[in-house]
C-alpha cells in the first residue's frame, strides 16, 4: 500500500509517516500543494492524506484538480479547521473523509483503513454481513449469534451493521457518531460508550468469546 501525505508541517508529516511506516505502508511526503499534485498525478498511490492549508496550492484545489481529471483515489483531509462548514467544503471538493487536527494516530489509522477498504470492496450491495459466528441479514434485518436470534433496536442494528462492515478494524467514537447517528457534533459525555456497552451486552452475553472489543485510547473493534 502506497500512501501520499501532502503536509507542510514537518513534525506532523513525520509523525504520520513514522506511524504508517510501522504498519507496513510505503509513505511519500510532499511538503506543498504543487509537489503533492505533481506526485499524485505522476505516481500511483492507494490513498492521499492532504492538509487543507498548504503553501502554493491549497489542499482543496489539489483534490479538486485530481477529481476533475477523474481520479477516484481515496482522499482523507486533515485540517485545523474543524467546523462543519469546513468539513462540508472539504467533502464537496472531493474528499472522502475529514479529520480535524489534532488527531490521535489511531483515529487516522481507523479512517484510513475504512477508506482503503471502501475503495477495495466491490460495488455490489451486500445482503449479509458475517463476523465469526455473528450473522446479519440486511434484508430481513435478522441478527444471529451462533444460530440464536438477537433482538436489536433500530439504532443498535445500525451500530452493529457499521461495526460489522468494518469488522477487524478499529472504529472510533467520532466515526460512529458521524456514520451511525449521522450528526457532526461534540458529545458532551461518554454517551457512545453507553450505547456500545448495551450492544455488547446483547451480542456477547453468555458467549465464550467476546466479539466487541474496546481498544484503549482509540475506540472499538468487532472480531
Amino acid at each position: 500500500m502506497r500512501i501520499l501525505v501532502i503536509e507542510d508541517d514537518k513534525a506532523v508529516a513525520k509523525y504520520i509517516g513514522k506511524g504508517l511506516d510501522e504498519l507496513g505502508y510505503t509513505v511519500d511526503v510532499a511538503p506543498d500543494g504543487k509537489e503533492g499534485l505533481f506526485l499524485a498525478t505522476s505516481e500511483h498511490y492507494d490513498a492521499l492524506i492532504v492538509d487543507r492549508m498548504l503553501p502554493h496550492i491549497d489542499g482543496l484545489t489539489v483534490v479538486q484538480t485530481l477529481r476533475a481529471s477523474n481520479r477516484t483515489i481515496p482522499v482523507l483531509f486533515l485540517s485545523a479547521l474543524g467546523e462543519v462548514d469546513d468539513r462540508v467544503r472539504g467533502l464537496e471538493a472531493g474528499g472522502d473523509d475529514y479529520l480535524t487536527k489534532p488527531f490521535a494516530f489511531s483515529e487516522l489509522k481507523a479512517r484510513l483503513d475504512a477508506l482503503l477498504r471502501r475503495s477495495g470492496s466491490s460495488d455490489a450491495p451486500l445482503t449479509e454481513l458475517v463476523a465469526e459466528d455473528l450473522n446479519m441479514d440486511l434484508l430481513t434485518r435478522v441478527v444471529l449469534r451462533g444460530g440464536k436470534v438477537i433482538e436489536l433496536q433500530p439504532r443498535e442494528f445500525r451500530l452493529l451493521e457499521y461495526m460489522m462492515r468494518h469488522a477487524g478494524q478499529v472504529v472510533t467514537r467520532t466515526m460512529l457518531l458521524e456514520h451511525v447517528w449521522d450528526y457532526h457534533f461534540d458529545p458532551q459525555t461518554n454517551v457512545i460508550d453507553v450505547h456500545v456497552s448495551r450492544l455488547r451486552a446483547k451480542i456477547d452475553k453468555g458467549q465464550d468469546k467476546a466479539l466487541l472489543q474496546t481498544v484503549r485510547g482509540a475506540g472499538y473493534r468487532l472480531g
Binding site: 509523525y15 485545523a80 479547521l81 462548514d85 494516530f105
Partner: protein, 451 residues
Amino acid sequence: MKIYRTSAFQLTVWYAVMLAVSMVAIATFLYWSTIGFLQRQTDATIEVEISGLREQYELRGLNGLNRAIGGRIQRGDDPDALYLFANRQLRPLAGNMKAWPELVSRDDGWYSFSNQAAGHAVPARARVLALPEGLVLLVGRDISDLDRLLHLAITGLAWGSGLVIALSLAGGLFMSGKVLKRVENINETSRKIVRGDFSQRVATRGTQDEFDQLADNLNHMLEQIEQLMGGIRHVGDSIAHDLRTPLTRLRHSLEEAAAEKNQPALRQQVESSIREADQLLATFSALLRIARIESGGYKVRGEQVQLNSIVNDAMELYEVVAEQRKIGVTRKLAKVPTVAGDRDLIFQLVVNLLDNALKYTPPGGEVTISVTEEDSSILLSITDTGSGIPAADIDKVTQRFYRVDDSRKEPGSGLGLSLVRAVADLHAATLMFANMYPGLRVSVSIPVEST
C-alpha cells in the same frame, strides 16, 4: 409601522401646530392694527361729536342743542352719523332716528346695537349721554362699512390660515417623508448587517449633506468593525492552526511515549497526560467553535430543519443515559413547521441542553422536552426536576467558563451553554432560563422565518 409613530408624522404635526399658533398671533395683530384702529377712530369721532353737542347744551340750553343737531343733519356732510335727543320717556325730541333703540338703556356709556330705523337692521355704535331733567342724548354711527370690512378680514384670515396650514401639512409630510426615506435606507442596511451580512454599506448620494456624512461615518465604522472581526477570525484561525499544531505534536510525542513497552511505570503517567492534553484541546476547540459562530464566520447551511426529528434523534442518543441515571424522560412534540437552520448545530444545542438536564437531575427525577408552535416561532423547552439555577446566576450561565458553584464537581468545560447561546443567536432564536421550583426550564424560541 404605524403612521402616527413615524417621526415624519410627528414632525409634521408639531410643525402644523406651531404654524397654527403663529397664524393666530398674526391674525390677532392684523385685527388689532386694522379693524381695531378703525373702531377706535369711530369711537373717537363719536366722542368729539358728543362733546361738541354737550358744549352747545351747556352754553345755549335745550334750544341750542336742538339747533345744533338739526343743523348737523341738514348739512348732511356725514351720512353715517346718527343723532337722537329724547325725553324722560325716551320719546324722540330731535335727531335722525325714529325711535330709541330697544337694546340701548338710558345710562351713560358705549353701545353696539342694531339700528332698525332705516327699515332694515344696520349695525351701529353709539354713545349715550344723560342730561339733566331725565333728558338723554345718543350720538352714534352707522358702522355697516366697518362691519363688512370686519367680515371680509375674518373670512380672509380664516381661509388664509386654513390654506397655509393645509399646505404646510402636505409640504411637511412630503419633506419629512423624503428625509425618513433616507433614514429608512440607513435602517434597512443596519438590519441586514445585524442579520449577519457584513458586506452591506449605506448608500450615499454624493451631495455631502448631513445624511451623506452620516452614511459615510457609518460606512467607515462598519469598515473598521469588519476589519476587527476579520482580525478576530484571523487570530482564531491562526490559533487553530499555529497553536493546535504544536499541541498536536505534543500529543503525538506522548502517544509515542505511551507505546514504549520498556517503561510500564511511566506509561500510566503518559496516558493521563494524553487525557489532559485531550481535555485542553477539546476546550480549545469548543472555544474556537463558539468564537467562529459568534463572529459570523460560520456559514449556516440554510436547509429546512425538522426540529422534531432532531429532538427524537437526540432523545434516542440520550435515553440510555437517562435510564442509567433512573430519570424519566417525557416527550411532548406538537406538529410544527420546519425552520431554516443548521441541522448539526441545532442537534448540538439540543444535546447540550439535554445533557445538562440529565446531569443536574437527581435519580428518580423527570426531564420533559416539548416542542410547540407559538405565533410565528417554534418553542423548544426542556424542563428538569433538578436544583435549578440560583437567581443571581441565571443571567450569567451562558458566559464562557461560568459555572454555578454547585456544578463545579460535575464534569464539564463550562462552555456547553455558551455554545447553546451562540447557536441560538445564529438562528435569531431567544434563549430563556426559568426556575420552576423545583427544576429548571430552558426554552429556545426559534422564529419560523429564521435565516
